[in-house]
């Protein structure tokens, strides 16, 4: 039954897109933010082809971005 649902129709794509697309958009924008934050904050700029190191989320005690702490 499930195989029929997957092979004979594209109906499963709708909920998958509804869940997957937001995750991809958030991940892409967050990565861009971090790269921008790195450059603006004086961190070492990523060279071409170099992976931008993901910074730990500034959650919890002692956390907070430079902007947040400055405000």
């Amino acid at each position: 039954m499930l195989a029929h649902l997957v092979t004979d129709s594209s109906v499963l794509w709708y909920p998958l897109v509804a869940l997957g697309a937001p995750a991809l958009i958030v991940a892409a924008l967050t990565r861009l933010d971090r790269a921008r934050h790195h450059r603006a904050g004086g961190g070492p700029p990523a060279s071409a082809g170099q992976e931008v190191e993901a910074q730990p989320e500034p959650h919890g005690e002692g956390g907070g971005s430079a902007q947040a702490r400055a405000l």
């Binding site: 129709s9 924008l29 933010d33 971005s65 902007q67």
Partner: protein, 196 residues
């Protein structure tokens, strides 16, 4: 130490009940809207299973509540009701969003306006028992392009509304780095410690 009212506090006070809905009640209201969106998805996914897994004819696939009470679907009340409540929720809860989250929420709102318009057209035809566009049953504008694809079309609509909604909710709860530390009137931000 007594907290000083912020600009957002003053704005939400001026907005009265709408201000409270976008302030202290924003998180609870968003949970409620989320539950309604989920219930709507359940209807469409059950309908999809009825058609593509159980082999129902499309007109007979009425979803979860529609299976028990067919008139809810044939009268168009069920999905028209969902569309109205979703648009109202998206519009009423918009003032609580800021920055990038607000941009995505506005996109969801705009798509929902079109979705409601489609349901408004279907609802009028069902209530007046007068199909438009020369069809035998109520049809909507984009259905003229894909006449037999109403379930698929509405799965697309719900996907297009849900995607920016979820992105907006994420950035509302976890604001992007440049927006961190902004004062929000609601309790939705998960990156700031709750005031004791």
């Amino acid at each position: 130490m007594a907290a000083h009212p912020t600009v957002i506090d003053l704005r939400t006070q001026r907005l009265g009940r709408l201000g409270r809905l976008n302030g202290a009640w924003h998180e609870r209201a968003l949970w409620l809207l989320g539950a309604i969106v989920l219930a709507h998805w359940v209807e469409h996914l059950v309908q999809a299973v009825q058609i593509w897994a159980l082999g129902y004819q499309k007109p007979a696939a009425r979803g979860f509540l529609g299976a028990a009470w067919p008139w809810l679907v044939t009268s168009e009340w069920l999905h028209y009701g969902f569309a109205v409540v979703m648009l109202a929720g998206l519009a009423l809860l918009l003032p609580g969003f800021t920055g990038r989250a607000r941009a995505f929420w506005v996109v969801a709102l705009a798509i929902q306006v079109w979705h409601l318009l489609e349901h408004q057209i279907l609802f009028i035809q069902a209530q007046t028992h007068t199909p438009w566009f020369g069809a035998a049953v109520p049809t909507s504008v984009l259905q003229q392009l894909w006449p037999a694809a109403r379930p698929e079309l509405h799965l697309v609509y719900n996907t297009l509304v849900t995607v920016p909604m979820l992105v907006a909710l994420w950035f509302h709860m976890y604001p992007p780095l440049p927006e961190r530390g902004r004062v929000m009137a609601c309790t939705c931000d998960r990156t700031t410690a709750k005031a004791a």
